[in-house]
């Protein structure tokens, strides 16, 4: 196990350097000189340009710049945003809880509906429930989520007036945010209606972001369950006269969960990609919207730093999933 963990960790290092190199070279490949962009429409004098170039290190050879960037990254220094002048690191972690809250809720939504749907479909294989659930799952899987978001807004915000269209909470509420999670903070603030408001803002983005993971989990659970249900020990349990509920719920589901957990872990990338669209549509102040806005504003350090942090996050999650998988399934360690 230790060897397996070490070898997985060793592949992490070149990938990390590669990811840093890619985010670093993107900023150099973007059209337009970063200093000119920063100067804006007023333009900039030649002396000031040279001064700034020196300050940012743009006058030095490219490999020295990369080395500086890499060592900076390892010390948590990702540069400052051109627009707000604040460190990219601070901005990222100020906005990250919003994305995390939305992602966790979306994942809870997806698992809470996807697991039972997959189990029910597998148990009723080939029957009406199976077909209905799996057709729905395929529709969800094929859904352009930006359109799905607009449809939900039309129905629930437009026609029914149940939910607000954008943001995390109504503007009349103001309270400190120690955790950054709006649901928890609004509860802790004790203000009347704050929690309800936060929930109503959360519900549509959660559904939108959770739809594709929901479909994937339902499909994956069904196929994993079908595989397990064909095993001998299930037949033994049946022969012993164990109740179907106990067989399906405990014996089968527990073993079917392993591939499902992998899928859940690996859909972190999907969630972050989905967050880009979901947050843009619902004006949710998280990482996805921040990245899109920065790309449009040509805020290079933010694009570079955000890209790197997101990629590293995906890598860490994938690594953790691999490790867990190695713990659960000894066969994998031997490769």
């Amino acid at each position: 196990m230790l060897n397996y963990a070490l070898s997985r960790l060793l592949t992490f290092i070149p990938t990390f350097i590669g990811v840093t190199l890619i985010s670093f070279s993107f900023i150099r490949a973007l059209p337009g000189d970063p200093i000119q962009v920063m100067a804006g429409e007023r333009g900039i004098s030649d002396e000031r340009y040279a001064e700034l170039a020196k300050q940012f290190g743009y006058d030095r050879p490219i490999y020295v710049q990369f080395w500086d960037y890499l060592t900076g990254v390892l010390q948590g220094d990702l540069g400052n945003s051109f627009v707000t002048k604040r460190p990219v690191w601070d901005e990222f972690f100020a906005l990250f809880p919003a994305t995390l809250e939305l992602s966790i809720c979306a994942m809870i939504f997806a698992v809470a509906l996807g697991l039972p749907a997959g189990v029910i479909a597998a148990v009723n294989r080939g029957k009406f429930f199976d077909r209905a659930l799996m057709s729905t799952a395929l529709v969800g899987y094929s859904m352009p989520i930006f359109w799905w978001a607009l449809l939900l807004i039309i129905v629930f915000s437009g026609n029914l007036q149940w939910t607000p269209v954008s943001g995390r909470i109504d503007l009349l509420y103001y309270f400190p945010d120690p955790t950054g999670f709006m649901i928890i903070d609004s509860l802790a603030s004790g203000q009347k209606g704050a929690f309800t408001s936060a929930m109503r803002h959360l519900i549509l983005p959660t559904i939108v972001l959770g739809t594709i993971p929901l479909a994937v989990i339902a499909r994956q659970t069904r196929s994993a369950m079908l595989e397990v249900l064909g095993e001998d020990y299930i037949r033994t349990a049946r022969a012993k006269g164990m109740s179907p509920g106990r067989i399906n719920g405990i014996h089968a589901l527990r073993n079917a969960l392993i591939p499902v957990i992998t899928v859940i872990g690996l859909s972190v990338g999907t969630l972050l990609a989905g967050a880009i669209l979901t947050e843009t549509i619902f004006s949710w102040p998280g990482i996805g919207k921040w990245m899109v806005d920065s790309i449009f504003r040509r805020d290079y350090p933010v694009v570079q730093g955000g890209l790197l942090l997101i990629a590293v996050m995906v890598m860490i999650v994938n690594l953790t999933v691999d490790m867990l998988y190695g713990v659960i399934n000894p066969k994998i360690r031997k490769r």
Partner: protein
């Protein structure tokens, strides 16, 4: 799908009956056949759209802006699905728009699959260190969420449909590399490859003629699935303003243009998205059928 059929057609000459066998299994999956029909209609519209559409897709009927569909009050048979804020006919724009999505799918899958297969074959046949380097590079690309990477690539290359296609192809490519490499590694050990090598087959013959045809099944399934991913991602980029630019009647771009009217005119938002959903759903149905028909493990025989 075109890829799948032509690939099948090629192998059919040396192995008679393979296409028929494929069709036999494919036909059993009713969803897949429905998907195939919808895809055929979609392909037909992509080729002949401008001649079928009742109006010019960019013509602005200024007297009939935001006209609702025919079955609602104020609708008329001239514009069956209504008009958009500039008075352009929705139905015509949707029909002409099929062309862009189809084109995106074909181009992206061709680039990603060709590149991915070649790199995957090299990784499978090359010495271990080359293989490791290639796979690390693919890991790096896969570490970025696909849509985010595509978005940044398009920001670098400049927003247009062509650049969106290049970006999506780059993002999808690692999947083909991994699939091809995995199949090559398992095929390479088999006796027929060893005997071909002993018989004096060169490395290129081994790669492309001996091994590749036996690795195609999962790649074809992947091609169908990434066809739909490509359409979805291109529409998403268009929606974010980084794909096809107005007035191109690309479905994602149409949605982006219609966004501010969602609470006033449901049809300008509903129909383009429905077109994307139906197309993607049809291709995914077909992909499921392809997988069942091509994957020997699932065959009942």
């Amino acid at each position: 799908m075109d890829d799948a059929l032509s690939a099948e057609a090629e192998t059919v000459q040396d192995r008679p009956g393979r296409l028929r066998e494929f069709w036999f299994y494919f036909r059993e999956n009713r969803g897949a056949v429905i998907g195939l029909w919808i895809f055929a209609v979609f392909a037909f519209l992509a080729f002949f759209g401008p001649w079928i559409a009742p109006h010019d897709a960019t013509a602005q009927y200024r007297t009939a802006t935001l006209q609702p569909p025919v079955w609602q009050d104020g609708g008329s048979w001239t514009h069956i699905l209504g008009t958009d804020p500039l008075g352009r006919d929705m139905l015509s724009r949707l029909i002409v728009g099929a062309r862009y999505s189809f084109f995106v799918g074909v181009v992206v899958v061709s680039i990603a699959a060709t590149g991915g297969i070649i790199i995957g074959l090299i990784a499978g046949f090359a010495p271990k260190w080359v293989d490791s380097i290639i796979m690390r590079i693919m890991d790096i690309v896969l570490a970025f969420p696909s849509l985010l990477l595509a978005l940044v690539l398009v920001a670098i290359l400049g927003p247009s449909l062509t650049n969106a296609m290049i970006a999506i192809a780059i993002v999808l490519q690692p999947h083909y590399v991994r699939l091809t490499r995995a199949s090559v590694l398992s095929e390479r050990q088999k006796d027929y490859v060893v005997s071909a090598r002993v018989a004096g087959a060169g490395i290129f013959r081994l790669m492309f003629i001996t091994v590749l045809p036996n690795c195609l099944a999962p790649i074809i399934v992947q091609a169908a699935l990434s066809f739909s991913t490509a359409i979805l991602d291109a529409a998403a980029l268009g929606f974010l303003g980084m794909g096809a630019q107005p007035p191109t009647p690309e479905w994602g771009t149409m949605l982006a243009e219609a966004r501010e009217f969602i609470l006033r005119a449901w049809w300008v938002v509903t129909f383009p998205g429905l077109a994307i959903l139906v197309t993607v759903l049809a291709i995914n149905l077909m992909g499921d059928g392809l997988r069942d028909a091509l994957d020997p493990k699932l065959k009942r025989s």
